[in-house]
Amino acid sequence: MSFREKSAWITLVSVLVCFGAYFVELFGGLASSHHHFGGLGSVHLLLVATVALVALQVTLNLVAAWTTPKDGRGPADERERQIQWRSHTIGYHVLMVLALLLFAPAFFGHRGLEMANFALLAVVIAALTVAVAQIVMFRRGA
């Protein structure tokens, strides 16, 4: 497995773990009324999730680089660049659709930090889409 495929897996897992926990806590808190959805508590949670994501990604990418043979961690070649372009194009379209869907929570009266959290969810879903698309293309060969 090349370094870039490992990196896609790392992105998928780390984003799922960190922001999965963030949104579960956020929406779970909303359901049990422990938190104000979109309140300052969510900013603190976001900070923790972001720091955890960066720490996890840096650590796992270092391990991936260390455990990948030299022929799998050189500069990206044409196939890998093509996979990156195609996956980011897919992610861009997903993000555009989700951005348009942001009108829905706004319509139901969500404002400020709540809308920021919906926007963040859209970015996270787009990032996960890019990672999944990369993994599928790497597995298929192109």
Partner: protein, 76 residues
């Protein structure tokens, strides 16, 4: 737009596996190093899962001292 051969695969066949064998069992890693690609990309090209750019195709042919059509063929 990507076009497909009869069997649903890419319409370009290649003889890279045979040429590697004739070049003293050159490994995919060795070939990858000579053309500036990853071993995974060479494996994908060899398996017919990825069509290389014209430049990469010429690089591969050059490594084996062969003409382009001795390495790659268009399959109707």
């Amino acid at each position: 737009m990507k076009s497909f051969g009869k069997d649903g695969g890419l319409p370009i066949a290649n003889h890279i596996r045979r040429l590697r064998f004739e070049a003293g069992e050159m490994t995919q890693s060795d070939l990858a190093g000579k053309i500036g690609m990853t071993r995974q990309t060479v494996a994908a090209i060899e398996a017919g899962k990825y069509s290389p750019s014209l430049e990469a195709a010429f690089r591969i042919a050059h490594v084996f001292g062969a003409k382009l059509d001795e390495v790659f063929q268009w399959v109707e």
